[in-house]
Amino acid sequence: MELFDNLGLGLETAVRLDNLLYCFLGVLLGTAVGVLPGIGPTATIGLLLPITFGLEPVSALIMLAGIYYGAQYGGSTTAILINLPGESSAAVTAIDGHEMAKKGRAGPALAAAAIGSFFAGTVATIVIVLFGPPLAGVALTFGSAEFFSLVVLGLIASITLARGSTIKALAMIVLGLLFGTVGQDIYTGTPRFTFGVRELFDGVNFVSVAVGMFGIAEILRNLEDEKTRKLVTKTITDLWPSREDFRRMTAPILRGTVLGSALGILPGAGHVLASFGAYALEKRVSKHPEEFGHGAIEAVASPESANNAAAQTSFIPLLTLGLPANPVMALMLAGLAIHGISAGPSVIDREPELFWGLIVSMWIGNLFLVLLNLPLIGIWVRMLTIPYRMLYPAIIAFAAIGTYSLAFSAWDVFAIAFFGLLGYGLIKLGCEPAPLLLGFVLGPLLEDHLRRALIISRGDPSIFISRPISAVLLAFAVGAIVIAVLPAIRQKREVVFKEEV
């Protein structure tokens, strides 16, 4: 069967000694940085991205993916132990996970997260194998009109789940699109908004944008109110969950995995919705919902499984459509571009080794995570005790030197400062940074396809609605805006967030 041939090719690539090593290194580094409080997966990947540039594309991508799950898992460790989720999807884990830790059950909570993540990762890998190639086949028939509409849908979808005002989120997307136009125009070569600075001809460096908006802005917010972090560590004695724990977490892990795999494919903040959704679902079906919020192991196992499954399946739109579903995937897309690979439906055919190698390595990465995290938990706990006064200057130093080393351009470092300030200001004014980053990365793609489609149609904009697939995609985008704006649904959404954060 072709599928097994492909998986065989992937396995061959993934178990090459150097790739195994990069996968392991990625998972290790990702977890280490992800465990550090105050750095979420996006900033982690932004900071560690430069390390992968010297590698060949497959190895670089395998390592990046490893960093991603590592960071994700590290984030839940922080959430459980010090109630400081690195990103929104870990916020759910923090609720009951930290309660468990306070009761001296940090070990089982961490184990539940690790086991749930591993199981979910395995299933999600199979989902990618099954659904990736057919989806890419559909996407191969896409023309510029379809791709334009697809990007529009992806951008709009990213706001429906962002917290806060819909108009602000829309404005953040457009702001990102505008920053994306800086640099040479693809058709005429005219430098736009570069103020004569040669370093800006290739556009603003996306690493600067990501590190500024997610890393520096976060530091500024953390310095504002240095909360006293209560570390719960002394109580980690028994790591392994009891038989009762296992009995209670089996079904939640299964439910979380299914929910997460499905939601991850959707563009937008799928993994956030997945963990919130899994929590709500478990609370509803549980025989003892009164335990939720006070350390129920189901409330850790299910959202963590959902979160990890979604994190994995969100690679599907990236690899098959070239459409990042979240800021982390946007960074991956940009990372691929640096290696000269334009993600999209042709990747499977043109770079089968890369595609299948990455998929198999995802599973191996998840295996490493379990093997690594349970025994190494003591080291992670010790990393948690690094005081913030040492940590944030380190983040700044690494951000500066790492970003500078990409192109040896001081402007890239200045851009970090600019986007850090802008991000900090906008976050304080209630605007989320994620839509901006997506807009920034997708901006050039959007403009390219828009212009190409209109050249094909001789300037007639009806091409976007006269072609059926494009029309359906745009209809979904309009639907997504309606859902986001509609007051009844909006209120419900806010209730979900308020109740469970």
């Binding site: 005002s165 404005a171 457009v174 736009r192 200057p393 500066a400 500078y404 209109l454």
Partner: protein, 154 residues
Amino acid sequence: MPQVRRALNDIMAGAIFVAIGVAFATGSLAYDVGSPLRMGPGYVPLVLGGILVTLGLLVIVKGFIAGTGEPIGEVDWRAVILITAALLFFGVTINGLGVVGALLGSTLLAAFARSATSIREAVIIAVGLTVLSVVIFIVALQLRLPLAGSWIPL
């Protein structure tokens, strides 16, 4: 007056959007705008700038009518200025001073961004981080960055 303070958050965000939108839109007029059939380099930025101004105005209007959101809260200006300065210092001096000098200066500035950090502590953090970064980036990752730059005669 909590009502006014709440709305302020929207109004300021909207003002930022309008300002940046206007800047991009007027800037794009300097380039060839073209027509939908043959879009010039200025076309897309002009349209996007226009959309951003519209959205910004909507946010402002909403701020005046329905003022939602949370209060803005205090801004730690010391942190804002020193963190920015740390990054700018690195960018300006990396060629002239080299990695060691640029890192020492920027980590020192960054360490002082937190008011509770003492001078002694800040110096220890700066030196420690500089050594650590050199070990990671120059020794381990073999980045070709000069340890000492052109301003330092060796």
